[in-house]
Amino acid sequence: MRISKDEISPAKINNRNTDEFEKMFRLYFVRLASYAHKFIGDFAVAQDLTQSVFLNIWELDGKWNPPGSVKSYLYAALKNQCLNYIKHNRVVKEWQDEESWSRQHNHINMDWEKSDRETKLDYSINKALEKMPEKRREVFELSRTEGLTYSEISELLGITKKTVENHMGNALRFLKDELSDFL
C-alpha cells in the first residue's frame, strides 16, 4: 500500500540498499528537475544538478541524516545546488533572464481575441504569479506545483508553519483580485 507520503528510508540507503535508492530516484527525479528548472534556464543543467543531489547522498557513505522529511531535504539540497550554480555562473543567469523574457514576449503575442476562456485563464494565472512578491510565490508554488506539505515548506525555507499559512492565504487573495475578470 502506498498511502504514506514519505516512504523512503534513509537508514536503508545508508546501508547501501540500491533498491531503496532507486525508488527515491524514480519518485523524485522528475519533480526535482522541474523545480530546479525554475532557477536554471537550461533544463539539461537543471537535470545535472538534480542528479548531483542524489549522487551526493550516496557519497555521504552511510552518514546521511536528513533532519526532517526526505522530501524537504531533497528540495533544500537542490535549491542550494542551484543557488551555488548561479553564483558561479553569472552568464547562465543572464541567459536565463533572456529566455524568460522571450517566454513572456510570446505571452504578449498571444491573440487574446481568438483565445478561449481556458487559455486566457492560464495566461492570466501565469501573469498573476509573475506579479506576486518572490517569497510568497515561492511558498505558493512549493505547495501547489511541488505538492509539498506546509511542514515540509516550513522546514525547507526555515520559516514557521504559521508564516507558510499566511503566505498561502495572501497568495490566494492576491490571485482572486488578479483574476476577478473570470468570476
Binding site: 500500500m1 502506498r2 498511502i3 504514506s4 507520503k5 516512504e7 540500491t18 535508492f21 532507486e22 530516484f25 524514480r26 519518485l27 527525479f29 522528475v30 519533480r31 528537475a33 522541474s34 528548472h37 533544463f43 537535470q47 542528479q51 542524489f54 549522487l55 550516496w58 557519497e59 485563464l121 492560464d122 494565472i125 501565469n126 505547495s143 501547489r144 506545483t145 505538492g147 506539505t149 506546509y150 499559512e165 499566511n166 498561502m168 492565504g169 495572501n170 497568495a171 490566494l172 487573495r173 490571485l175 482572486k176 483574476l179 473570470f182 468570476l183
Partner: protein
C-alpha cells in the same frame, strides 16, 4: 454563587456560536483566505473542510470563487511543464556514476562512458530503423493478402503453453521465441504456445499488452482476446481487453492490423486499422469507433509507468487504478461513476497525491481506510 457562573457559561456559549456564525457567513479576509488555501492544498482538518464546504454552499458567488481557485490549482498540470525527462536513461546514467564513485576509480574513466553511451544510442536507432522497414513491407502484404487471412481462426488448444502473468502494479517485458517483443500491463495474462515457431503464431491475452511483432510474411501473428482476434504480420500495437471491462481497444503504432470479432454471426466482421488508428468497441453493444491520428504514446505510455486517463469515467478510472495499486475503490453514490476526467499520473507518485488530484478535479471527496478508498 451559582447564578453568576451559569450566566458566564451562557455568555461564552452565545459568543462562540455568534463568532461561528460570522465566520461561516462572511468572508473575513485573512482568516478565511488561509482556510481556503489550506483546503485547496490538502492541509485542512475535517472541521475546517466543513466550514469551507458550508461557505461554498451559502451563495452562488462563493461557489464560483471556489471553483475559480480550484481551477488555479488544477492549472499546474498545464503550466508546470516538466519537460521531457527520459527517467530510464537518467537512472542508468546515475547508476554508472554511482558505481564509479563507490569504487575509488580515477576520474579519467569519463570519456569511456560517453563513448559507450553513444554506442548504445546508435544501436537503438538501428533497431528503430529496421522496424520501420518491416512496417513498410507489411503495408503492402496485408493489403494484398487480407482476404486470405480473413477466416482462419479458432486455434485448437496446443499442449505446452507458457503463461505470463503480471501482478498489481507490475509491468512485464519479454521477448517471444519468434523475436517479437511484448510488454504486459499490470494484472494481465498472456498465453503463448511453447513452440511459437510452428505453423501459426497464436497467443491469447486477457488484459492489456503492447506488441512489437517481428516481421514474418509467411506467418501472421494472432492475438486472441475473449471476443476478438487481432492479426498482424509485423507491427507495433497495443491491445486492451480486460475481463472486468466489456471493452476492447486496439491501437496501432506502426503498420497495419486487422481485427475481427470472435463471434462473427452477430459481429461487425473484419476491421482494418492503419497506423495511428485507435479502435474502441463496446462488445456488448456491438458497436465500434475508429479514431484516426491518435497520439501514439497515449496508449503505450503505461510501459514507462505512466497512467493515462483519457476522458475516462470515474468507474473506469477506479478499475484502472486498482490494477496499479493494491487497493479497492468504492464509489459511494452512483452518480459518481459518470464523472469524466482526463489526466496523467506516474505509478511512482504517492497514491495519496493521485487521489487528491482526482477528487479536486472532480470536486468530490475521498477517504482511505486501510486498503479501501472511498470516493464520496
Amino acid at each position: 454563587m451559582g447564578v453568576p457562573r451559569v450566566s458566564v457559561v451562557l455568555v461564552i456559549t452565545v459568543c462562540k456560536s455568534l463568532l461561528l456564525l460570522i465566520f461561516k457567513n462572511l468572508m473575513i479576509p485573512d482568516q478565511n483566505w488561509t482556510l481556503l488555501a489550506k483546503y485547496l492544498s490538502g492541509e485542512a482538518s475535517s472541521q475546517e473542510k466543513e466550514i469551507v464546504d458550508e461557505w461554498r454552499k451559502k451563495t452562488e458567488d462563493n461557489q464560483k470563487l471556489f471553483e475559480l481557485l480550484q481551477r488555479v490549482w488544477i492549472h499546474k498540470t498545464i503550466s508546470g511543464s516538466k519537460g521531457d525527462v527520459d527517467l530510464e536513461k537518467k537512472w542508468l546514467d546515475t547508476l554508472e556514476k554511482l558505481d564509479d564513485r563507490s569504487s575509488s576509480h580515477q576520474k579519467h574513466l569519463q570519456p569511456e562512458w560517453s563513448e559507450e553511451k553513444k554506442e548504445k544510442g546508435d544501436r537503438f536507432f538501428r533497431v528503430g530503423k529496421v522496424a520501420q522497414y518491416a512496417a513498410a513491407a507489411i503495408l503492402l502484404v496485408v493489403t494484398t493478402f487480407a482476404g486470405i487471412f480473413l477466416y482462419q481462426f479458432y486455434a485448437e488448444e496446443t499442449p505446452g503453453t507458457l503463461v505470463y502473468k503480471s501482478e498489481i502494479g507490475e509491468t512485464l517485458e519479454f521477448q517471444l521465441d519468434d523475436g517479437s517483443q511484448v510488454w504486459l500491463a499490470p494484472k494481465s495474462k498472456l498465453e503463448v504456445p511453447a513452440d511459437l515457431n510452428g505453423s501459426k503464431r497464436e497467443i491469447s491475452l486477457e488484459g492489456e499488452a503492447y506488441f512489437s511483432v517481428e516481421s514474418n510474411q509467411d506467418k501472421a501473428f494472432w492475438v486472441y482476446t475473449k471476443n476478438s482476434i487481432t492479426k498482424v504480420l509485423g507491427t507495433q500495437f497495443n491491445v486492451t481487453a480486460f475481463a472486468d471491462e466489456s471493452l476492447l481497444e486496439v491501437q496501432v503504432i506502426e503498420g497495419i492490423v486487422a481485427v475481427e470479432k470472435g463471434n462473427r454471426s452477430q459481429g461487425f466482421g473484419d476491421i482494418i486499422l492503419n497506423e495511428g488508428d485507435l479502435l474502441k468497441t463496446d462488445e456488448q453493444l456491438n458497436t465500434y469507433e475508429i479514431h484516426s491520428n491518435v497520439s501514439k504514446s497515449a496508449h503505450s505510455k503505461w510501459r514507462q509507468g505512466v497512467i493515462v486517463l483519457d476522458d475516462l469515467s470515474l468507474d473506469r478510472i477506479s478499475e484502472r487504478l486498482e490494477r496499479w495499486f493494491p487497493m479497492e475503490i468504492i464509489l459511494e453514490s452512483e452518480g459518481l461513476a459518470d464523472k469524466n476526467l482526463t489526466a496523467e499520473f506516474r505509478s511512482s507518485q504517492p497514491l495519496e497525491e493521485i487521489l487528491q488530484e482526482i477528487s479536486l478535479a472532480l470536486n468530490i471527496e475521498y477517504k482511505v481506510d486501510q486498503q479501501t478508498v472511498i470516493f464520496y
